[in-house]
Amino acid sequence: MTVSFLLFSGIALLLLLLLIVLLREPGKKPRLESDQSSIEESGYRHVIFFAQVRRALTPDDYAFLAKRGSAQLAQRVRKERRRIALLYLSCLRREFSRLWKLARVIAAMSSRVGAAREIARFRLGVAFYLRYEVIRLKFILGLGPVPDLGAVSELVSNLAIRLETAMSDLGERAALASELSSTFDGGGLHTR
């Protein structure tokens, strides 16, 4: 077998495999994923209380617990911090994917799409998800240190409110366009 054989047949098989994957309907997620998403949803709501949670888990408190409490208690707190770190990661991911998706929806609706801007956002997305998976795996396996949690409250911002407005604006425009299109298609009017 030559290099050419392996190269070309490999590419052809890879393309066929990709074709099968891409032809599958997106959006029909299995139950497990929807469960996960509801967990993340609740995590997202907890973002609002994250400042308090963060205060409760400062290194000072942790040192105090380790010194005055039992080893069991310290272990429990460590576990708890790891769980919260994972929740924090999940919040980051959820917010990121929401914004990423929204940017793509807006781009799809726009008649002028900047290639450089789109490529930069795509690269950012790929980098984010790769990094996210590595860190998450490390936390789950207990290989990484528990991080000093940043201010997650920043996630809830004015932009979020503006995005909601934009989404409802898009919805209204879509409804209007659909109404217009059905009118011109002869909805009650004999246009042909």
Binding site: F128, P147, D148, L163
Partner: protein, 264 residues
């Protein structure tokens, strides 16, 4: 020209019948108005079949004619194939002007990169020049269709089933041709004495299968407009820079955790 094996003849006849049915269906379902280039492509395929039939039934032509006619007709059909696929993609993405602009640039880039790769790979290989050119074309074509599928999925563009099947058929045929040509060139040619019927059978069968997929795709008239046009240019200009900035902030937050990992 060598006589076709009976198995090849049967598959070829079935393929021609399927092409005729497809051609008729394009007119019967009024899809010819929306897909005129695809109709021309099917017509050129039928023309190519007629050419080959003429060559088989005329034993006294010059050897040069036997060599030249199939490859010239192949080049013409491949040209129409590319145009027909572009037509389908354009029709699909017409409501999304920005994405269409991005798509054709991406397709041009992918094609240019692959063309350079193939030119470099096949330089000096004159013995297999035509087969290499055919394989290279299909590699570019399949990759371009795949790039289009990926872009469409990335932007959550709803693809109606007929378009999906049409493009999938094109992609499948090109992938099958790459595989068949590769197996023929690298394995069968040197090891199997009676290689030609196997190659012909596999090539014609894959094409016949694609005709079945296209018949299924075009059994109904194509949907009217894919989606109402919604102008979001203002939102794109105003909001996407802010969204991008926010995405970068989120990425930085993650990067902080990453740095913590690296330091530890």
């Amino acid at each position: 020209m060598t006589e076709l094996a009976s198995s090849v003849k049967w598959v070829w006849a079935a393929s021609v019948l399927l092409q005729l049915a497809l051609f008729a269906l394009l007119f019967l379902r009024s899809n010819v108005r929306k897909l005129p280039v695809l109709t021309l492509y099917v017509a050129t395929n039928l023309g190519q079949a007629a050419c080959i039939l003429y060559l088989i039934s005329s034993p006294h032509l010059s050897p040069r004619t036997y060599d030249l006619v199939p490859w010239v007709s192949e080049a013409i059909t491949l040209l129409f194939q590319a145009l027909a696929a572009s037509e389908a993609i354009h029709l699909l993405l017409r409501p999304y002007r920005g994405i269409w602009g991005l798509t054709w640039r991406a397709l041009a880039l992918v094609s240019a990169i692959l063309l350079a790769f193939i030119a470099q790979h096949t330089a000096g290989n004159y013995h297999w020049a035509l087969l290499e050119a055919d394989r290279g074309y299909h590699l570019i074509f399949a990759s371009a269709i795949m790039a289009c599928f990926l872009l469409v999925r990335y932007y959550n563009v709803l693809v109606p089933a007929p378009f999906k099947l049409l493009l999938a058929g094109f992609c499948f045929f090109s992938c099958a041709t790459i595989l068949v040509n590769t197996i023929f060139q690298d394995l069968l040619y040197s090891k199997v004495p009676d290689y030609e019927p196997i190659w012909q059978f596999a090539s014609v069968l894959s094409f016949a299968l694609v005709q079945v997929v296209w018949l299924a795709a075009l059994r109904e008239p194509l949907p009217a407009d894919q989606r109402p046009l919604i102008a979001a240019d203002d939102l794109y200009e105003e909001l996407t820079p802010e969204i991008d900035a926010r995405l970068r902030i989120l990425n930085k937050k993650l990067a902080k955790l990453w740095k913590l990992e690296v330091r530890s």
